[in-house]
Symmetry: C2
Subunit: 385 residues, 2 copies
């Protein structure tokens, strides 16, 4: 246990007055993390209930000119690598040491690629006071056969703290340029904490709404990527705006239906929020998932996603393709394939079992799936991957 | 009363067996009317419960080659003027005489510009049996200060018959080319009738869903045009996809909120249907409302809508601009302006009272409106129009 945490626990045990001001640390410093730090930093300066300083944990890198990224950020107030040209605020302090970065904070903002969250939680386990509040801006999650592994649940369980989420139609570069957008805070516990997060993130160009539905909000940020793949197929086949709108709508409906089946507390109204319909729209208009899926369809499915990812994304894997596979396995495991024709068709197109233009014929595949049977499907899929 | 209607009423009064098969007439023959006739004609041939022949009332025109439009349609099975290149089906019969076209039918499909519906209803009043079923595909309606004049209500009241509606993300040319899309049938009475309309319109590329909410479904088809104007402003200002998605979402929310205030029976779930979210998406991606509003914003609001309509639409008026004004007057009349910042901002931008980029600052206008007061606003608007 760190010295400062010991001290804070002692203070608390001794009944001493705790610091009435909140301290915020942002864990992550990619483009979205840097934008989050910028939003928070501007509010921390204005709001009397927050300390001015906002720490940002930065995974240390050496830039081509030999300088360390943290030094550059602290010297220039700019994340030269992930958000060049944008001033983060003079009160943002970059820190390459994760434990040091979080030790004074009582509000933690997690905003890293989701693959890193397991390691971060392991490193911080036992080192965070139970009174700390967390929020996850992490989009994407692993979906196991039994169901999705919510990052908010991972943080709550591993660190023993409450965790909200913030999702929405949030292209980092556009918010960095202070173009108008919205976001949704999902909370499970007290409304007061949600309001505090809303206060910390809101600016005149970034409107944040709290919603009492942490699971629904978080699932939107992952499932939308499957819809983006489907929309990319429609674009690649030049099917037009009617079809594109129909596929986006059916995708939104399946997002809602699956979220409600997995977590009965999920609310319909969540899908009218920024995290729902607006994020689906943004992701289906731009974004890499849509773009690579469009290229896949234009090739008639003859170039694999592996090949296109290597060419278009320098080998990075597409979130939507991974999530489509994982969700397919969950649906198969639970016997729900027929209830989600769009989701299951997307995966089958991705692996070459169906053709891209089957994206609009999926009604027929319901019967195909029933005839083939899930066991046969499972076999044929595992042999193809 | 026409001879045949008299006969049918006599048959009925005499307890004679009525024709067990339904006869359909499509009232209207623009591009959407012609596509509707095509969809219906293909199903009428297949379904044993319908007579093969589908009548289509055509507002007679003489084509440049001197031929009458009805003759061309009946000779070629193609609406050479409004849907060239598409075969309507050999069982579609064009008829220039409205009363003759409807006299045998017990299912009437209304699909004309909404301005024509008053005259059509006046002409048919007293000439339609109360057992006839109607459906309106008419998008757009007049909104009076007291509230919107639903076309389905107009038909019901004037003709004394039940009337459903069909709305959705339905660009006529794309459906004509059999590209996949969806639509929503809104019904107020019996589910059986709704199912019959669904059966009559559905094809593998046109998926129709019934919803017990005739007012909600019909209002979507009108209010979406205000959202399209707002989105056009965002496009014209190059604000990006985040902002565009946010404005579309806020627009959808105001559509829902206003519909529910006007008709408490309106359901939230209607706005997840094709008539709701999907039609908003289609209309905000393409379409003339969005396009002319984009040009308006690009000119910095210096070229009026009148001027742009003259140039870009040969003087035709934009539905969205008219509806925005009418809805503004309703909101003003009812004291609801502050509750609908997007709708009221769109109108104020259209008349030059606010600048195009105020579309994303409308939160501030709430206070502006309160300060100015609705009476002042009303005056300044009427003086500008």
């Amino acid at each position: 246990m760190s010295h400062s945490l010991q001290k804070s626990r002692q203070d608390h045990a001794n009944g001493e007055c705790r610091d009435p001001k909140s301290r915020v640390t942002v864990v992550g410093s990619g483009s979205w993390g840097s934008v989050a730090a910028k939003l928070i930093a501007s509010n921390a300066l204005k709001l009397p209930s927050f300390h001015d300083e906002v720490r940002m944990w930065v995974f240390e890198e050496v830039l081509p000119n030999g300088e360390k990224l943290t030094n550059v950020i602290n010297k220039t107030n700019e994340n030269a690598k992930y958000l060049p040209g944008i001033t983060l605020g003079r009160n943002v302090v970059a820190d390459p040491d994760l434990e040091n970065a979080v030790k004074e904070a009582n509000m933690l903002v997690f905003v890293t690629p989701h693959q890193f969250m397991d390691g971060i939680c392991k490193q911080l386990k036992g080192k965070i006071s139970g009174e700390v509040e967390a929020i996850s801006l992490v989009k994407g999650m692993e979906v196991k056969k039994e169901g999705p592994c919510l990052i908010s649940s991972l943080i709550s369980k591993e660190l023993g703290i409450n965790c909200c989420v913030l999702m929405g139609a949030n292209i980092a570069n556009e918010i960095a340029m202070e173009k108008f957008s919205e976001a949704t805070v999902g909370y499970g516990g007290s409304r007061d904490i949600a309001e505090k997060w809303v206060q910390l993130f809101s600016t005149p160009y970034f409107m944040v709404t709290p919603v009492h539905d942490v699971e629904g909000v978080e699932l939107c940020g992952t499932l939308k990527n499957i819809v983006a793949i489907a929309t990319g197929f429609v674009d690649g086949l030049d099917m037009g705006n009617n079809t594109k709108a129909a596929i986006m709508r059916i995708g939104l409906r399946e997002m809602k239906a699956l979220s409600k089946l997995l977590f009965p507390s999920v609310k319909d109204s969540t899908f009218f929020e920024s995290c729902g319909v607006a994020d689906v729209i943004t992701t289906c208009l731009g974004g890499r998932n849509r773009r690579v899926a469009e290229a896949f369809a234009r090739s008639g499915g003859k170039r694999s996603f592996d090949e296109l990812e290597a060419e278009m994304l320098k080998g990075q894997k597409l979130q939507g393709v991974l999530t489509a596979r994982e969700v397919y396995e969950t649906l198969d495991h639970r016997g729900w394939l027929e209830m989600f024709p769009l989701f299951s068709t997307v995966h089958q197109i991705c692996i070459g079992r169906l053709k891209p233009d089957d994206i609009v014929h999926y009604r027929d595949h319901k019967s195909l799936i029933s005839i083939d049977g899930p066991i046969h499907l499972r076999k044929s899929i595992s042999s193809m991957m």
